[in-house]
């Protein structure tokens, strides 16, 4: 028994590290790593970087009064979210950001529970807008919008339960830009 206890103590640091790493990684899968895009700020004519973390949203969500229908909807939406992160870069000329920079975001959305639910490509304008949803155990855990236009590159990452319909409620506020996504399909009447 004493030998067993000694062995457990011996491996305790490694065990703790593995458990901590697992908790950290699984807890952050919906939050994308976007800091690598910061280098674009020197090339962009305009950069917008918005970070609304869980603490801030939980602290302020309760102050959206339920009297106003919009406010009540926003409060219900925000109280479940864990973060809204937006990075948007506007350029004066075309091709000022590289496919590698777009791929640094898209590569995080390949597999791992992420699936593309909307993909809009305009050959005429060169616009590409993709919407990805993260599902963990049949629950929506996050959403990402990657909008790559010739002179604009925008990434919206929302952590928490959200769908396209709710995303449209956030457009134009909380730092979420107007995304001009196709309207969500109406629910079929039961």
């Amino acid at each position: 028994m004493r030998i067993l206890f000694r062995n457990i103590l011996k491996f305790a640091p490694a065990l703790l590290f593995v458990v901590t790493a697992h908790v950290v990684t699984t807890g952050q899968t919906a939050k994308l790593q976007l800091d690598q895009l910061d280098v674009l700020a020197n090339r962009a004519s305009e950069t917008v970087d918005v970070k609304l973390d869980e603490h801030l949203m939980q602290m302020t969500a309760k102050f959206f009064s339920g009297k106003d229908t919009d406010d009540a909807e926003i409060r219900d939406l925000l109280k479940n979210l864990k973060g809204i992160y937006v990075k948007s870069f506007t350029f004066e000329k075309e091709n000022e950001y590289s496919p590698a920079e777009v791929d640094s975001v898209i590569s995080q959305l390949r597999g791992g529970g992420w699936s593309k639910i909307v993909g809009v490509t305009s050959k005429k304008n060169g616009d590409n807008v993709d919407v990805y949803l993260l599902t963990i155990a049949d629950q929506i855990a996050g959403l990402a919008v990657v909008s790559a236009e010739p002179k604009e590159f925008t990434v919206v990452n929302i952590v928490g339960p959200i769908n396209l319909e709710k995303l449209s409620e956030l457009e134009g506020s909380f730092g979420v830009p107007l995304l001009n996504l196709p309207p969500p399909k109406p629910k079929t009447a039961k």
Binding site: P13, D38, S45, E46, V48, D49, L52, D53, M59, F63
Partner: protein, 178 residues
């Protein structure tokens, strides 16, 4: 050995800088002075009358003017008639601000326009039942650093339009009430 291990683990798990209650306002002013080689001025409240006419604060939801900052909570530092030239290194300044205002401050909004040298940084931290909001606004010839205490109800309103939040607070802090 176990005790040492637990102590090290606890120390590593604490956020860096959590113990230091840094004065973000003074640190931000110093950073601007060092990066841009400029000097700030502290302008008394009365001298600020009429400096700015537009009250963006009035444009926040509801249309009518609402007092944003808690009374007596505003700190202001101006940089006027000086040159703010990042020499193509505006992202470096952004990184410097991020490093400086690490925990307990949280970055909320950062906007940069290198060509016009326009930058806005809005940081937030807890202040008991309220929040401290730190706003850094830089243009080609002037800059402002504002720190104000804001009630959560007001912060909730401002969060709806985070891009306009810095301007709303700066306008209020630099405009005397009629």
């Amino acid at each position: 050995m176990l005790a040492t291990f637990i102590a090290i683990t606890l120390a590593l798990s604490m956020p860096i800088g959590a113990s230091a209650d840094r004065d973000g306002f003074s640190d931000a002013v110093k950073l601007i002075e060092q990066f841009y080689h400029v000097k700030h001025q502290n302008i008394p409240l009365l001298a600020r009358a009429g400096m700015k006419a537009v009250k963006t604060a009035a444009k926040i939801r509801g249309g009518e003017y609402k007092k944003l900052a808690e009374a007596g909570s505003v700190r202001v530092a101006f940089f006027e008639e000086q040159t703010f030239d990042s020499r193509g290194q505006i992202a470096s300044f952004k990184s410097a601000v991020q490093n400086l205002l690490a925990s307990p401050w949280s970055a909320l909004v950062q906007t940069l326009a290198p060509k016009s040298e326009e930058q806005t940084y809005v940081y937030v931290r807890d202040a008991g039942k309220n929040f401290h909001v730190l706003v850094i606004t830089i243009e080609r010839r002037e800059a402002t650093v504002i720190q104000a205490t804001v009630a959560p109800q007001i912060l909730a309103e401002l969060l709806k339009n985070p891009d306009g939040m810095g301007k709303a607070l700066t306008d209020e802090a630099t405009t005397s009430d009629p």
